[in-house]
Symmetry: D3
Subunit: 242 residues, 6 copies
């Protein structure tokens, strides 16, 4: 099967890192295609950038002209997943949801450690809308921006470990979710440092997408995610960055 | 003061109707400027269209080059309000929130009567995220699309009255919110037919926006709605329809 | 229009301060009438005093024999608003609700800073019943009694600023509500000290009451706030302090 | 021990019926003293009457000049319990709470059948504030006023049975609470007709009050229910009906 | 009447202590019978042990061949109560629920102080399922195992007092529940040390069980707790320890 | 990898059907081992039977003496999963959770269609404890007992379809979960009849268990699911049916 994994920012290096992480856990026979939006911010750390990413991701996916079986939206706490679900028949998996639903199988409560403090409410809101917030012990910010994570992985590990330890000790988390697509690949180090299971959303999303495809399941079209009605839409698809 | 009221769809006639409704309740000295997005759908009835509207609204507001004191986003249950709040200092009022917070002063529970069934979850989710859902008795669909409302106001009244009466009788609503920007102006007829207060979101939003300005209040910039960080953003602003 | 603003305690100086604050934000053409209950406590800081205030406020409003367009109950976290709504057709606005619903337009979460610790649960319960608690980050006590606030405004500012700063830093509040009618007028100082928007409930209530009147909205009479049934009531109206 | 059971309305016959019901379940050695407020409505069916009852009950209890061990407030869904708790050291039991906490030992969910529809929100709000709402399947109105219940018990039984049966069938209630002090004594008939346990709040409150006294427990005075601060209170105690 | 009080662990000394505590609060005429399961763990401090206790308690009660009027399950936060309710007609009272529902009459919020940290989620989950969690300020662990409590009561008091004080100061608890059957008898000391009411679950459960019996109430059999259907069950009753 | 799938009842035919269903979706290289408890009920339809199953499942798994990588508990809404998680290092997946977390990727809300009405509260409570209830539109009973499902699959399909259609139409479900291990294999027929995605819990659980193993994730041992402390346990392991 072929799974599209779409970055929410326009930094190609992050797309590649995410796709690489996805490939490392994909089943034999699964092809991972990494996509970078044609427009948007070099990193997504707030609502404006996230809304822009929402349609940039839809736009990028619609412009992909080969068949595929599922789509992963590889941003943490981002807007847009519901729009993709309307536009597509194949399953759509958001890495925020994937990390959370996976973590819930491993412990009584989980925490998310993310980048900047300003993104915490976005992640909380995303989890609330997805119905996966009840067992969330906390969402904590490491204080590092997305591109800082990329630039200095070891500093990232230290900052994440610090917050993860607080989450376990003070917030009673039993599992840690890595709250940024760019943290893919740090899970093993952080697990060793904290002693609790660490879930990387990209990896989790790959297994969930594969599972949905294998089970022959696709997005329900009876109500919320019904195909958009036929109507006049100006300026869409965008694809202008192409 | 000057208040921008931004339609979420690209149908100019709806922008005009909304602006007209806004003017009818504005205080003397308040100038209402109606804006239509440069791109997007002719009516917004789902997530894809709503996400597209989210950035189209931001784009349209950013391209407005005169001073203004507040912005009203005139779509019901739409995405995007948080993005505008990041980009602007002035208050931003969503008509979904405005109708709900106003209704809560008038009765113990309120219901929303909207257009199509597929938009019900969007409105519920918007109210949940805004923290205004606790006293929501129900969100009900009239079954009429946005443009049908425009085309046949009397049929719209009948369909809305039917659902409003059910909301009062079965769901124990004590106030009805008109759940579509295009319903502006129908409130008085529906109040007479149902006997309960009817809140039009556009009207409510105008008074709230004026109030916030008069009180000298503006969007908090300490966390969620802090100005986006300076970074490279490709393809923005869009404004290509201009 | 004429708006009655009713103090919940029997301290005339507080009534005057509240009315003055209300006048300072009222629209041209709005007459503010301050009322002091005929009986009750000199300050309201708990359930007994608040229940007494509930009927003292109703009693005082009923004894006002001129026409009016709206009533503001100027106590924070107090009982009684629902009773007034039954007795009157005109809108009734509680300043607790007014501050909260206004704050929710300005930030993702708000905190209330009030007087004594013992009043915190009253405020929390009032906000829960009003359906405005979801985005409440915390209710914090300054430790100052109502009359101490009156007596030493500068000390009040210091105590409120301290708790407001904790609310922003520890509870993630983005807006502060001043949780006492007697704090009216301190908002600007506290905003300057904390850097976040500060909402004074009296001011907010004036704009909301004016808005409801302008929109022609009045209390729903279909269920919870229906006029009391005609029956024998002993010892009412009270008005004995007159 | 001596338990005061205070009616919330001024109808002496109801006080007597309530006290009689209380005596029928009291332990040997428990003296039940029925009290009728000096002022207030002949029946309490709404917020205004309930707030008036709140202070009339406090006023009546304070004017009782003999020792006592506990107080029962015998109104369903009424205001005021928290005020009594501040004024007294001895335990205070509201029959709404008593019925609910008892019902929760008997089935997975309970419903309340009360008098008029307008009192339903009061009962729901009382249960929410008391933290006993989670297992409430519904609050249903029989459509009979308090005094109609008194006047025609057989009609009352029929009306209550009808709603109780709907609660069991449609709302999945497994226990029924009789939602009016005036329903005391109907429980056995309704149990026979519906086949589910029926809890009378007055009876339940007597056993709870006795239990608290036997266990040596009294109201916590550390925060919410601390004794009111010493201050000037005008027009209190009232006791003018005496 | 006769009340069975069933220990959840197999330590006979704890059964005796619990039964002794129960007898000290029982009414004249109430016979308390302490039962120890035939199998299971010497102390219950986690899910495996608690599930084992669930059926060991049912097994032990079923093997009791004299008449009885109510059953108390004397473990804190344990599984199994719902099973007993299916098997029996007489009321079943869990001490976790009993402490909580009693505490709610005494203060606005309560905390539980229990043994080991690992049992905290069990207690929270039990209270959530019982619908008694809304007014729970916190569940705190003293760090002492069940058998350590038994062995060194004074050390237990110190550890419990420390957590109780934090609950009152930091979590705003107004009442403390002793969260372990083995803490029975420590309530008075802890009340003196903390100044807030302290509820012992065993004592509370005795008064609740007696009350339910006196009121003639028994478990509802219409749905959740209906008698198990007749079917083939292998290996039950177990009673092998007999 | 090897996955143990444990039936919760003692009917061997159901174990075989479940294992067969599991094998039909398992990846190449995954060995599915079906286990039947040594004791317990021939079908599990209530709390007593479910608690008995809880330890029977633990007992059966512990007596399995070959290596394995994950365990699936194949009962819907059953007790016991947390006990297994304490006893094992490998991931444990309950099919109730698996169906729900899978359904949440496919639609905005899901409903469960189960067997008898008496099992509905068990399923609701299981989903609440697992933190997966927020997007549950309803749990509906088909009215068929577990063994009736086995005996007459076509009648089962009809009864399930009827409730599924009501769930979609009245409760606004967008996905249906088959709420009984014994329904495995009916999903395709029901999907065709209702037009919405249908999730079989056994199939979903297999893919989730495989995913957790592939990702190298295991149960967190820091708190709730820590290995039971070493202590004296009488009568365990049971394994007497062997």
């Amino acid at each position: 099967m072929r799974i599209l994994i779409v970055n929410v920012n326009t930094t190609q290096a992050i797309t590649e890192a995410i796709a690489e992480q996805a490939r490392s856990v994909a089943s034999p026979g699964t092809e991972i295609v990494g996509l970078t939006p044609w427009f948007g911010a070099e990193s997504v750390e707030g609502n404006f950038e996230s809304y822009l990413a929402a349609i940039a991701v839809m736009d990028r996916v619609l412009s992909y002209d080969q068949p595929y079986d599922a789509v992963i939206q590889a941003g943490y706490g981002e807007h847009g997943r519901e729009g993709l679900q309307e536009l597509l028949e194949v399953p759509v998996v958001d890495i925020t949801d994937a990390a959370a639903s996976t973590a819930m199988y491993l412990g009584h409560a989980y925490s998310v450690v993310t980048t900047l403090d300003r993104t915490v409410p976005l992640i909380e809101d995303r989890l609330k809308l997805s119905g996966l917030y009840d067992r969330c012990a906390s969402v904590r910010a490491s204080g590092l921006a997305v591109l800082e994570l990329e630039a200095d992985p070891q500093r990232a590990v230290e900052a994440i470990v610090e917050q993860a330890e607080r989450a376990v000790r003070d917030d009673k988390a039993e599992v840690i979710c890595l709250g940024c697509g760019g943290m893919a690949g740090l899970d093993e180090q952080i697990r060793q440092r904290t002693g609790v299971p660490v879930v990387d959303g990209v990896s989790a999303a790959v297994t969930i997408a594969e599972s949905l495809v294998r089970l022959g399941l696709s997005t329900s079209k009876v109500r919320t995610y019904a195909t958009p009605r036929v109507k006049k839409v100006i300026g869409w698809p965008m694809q202008f960055g192409r």
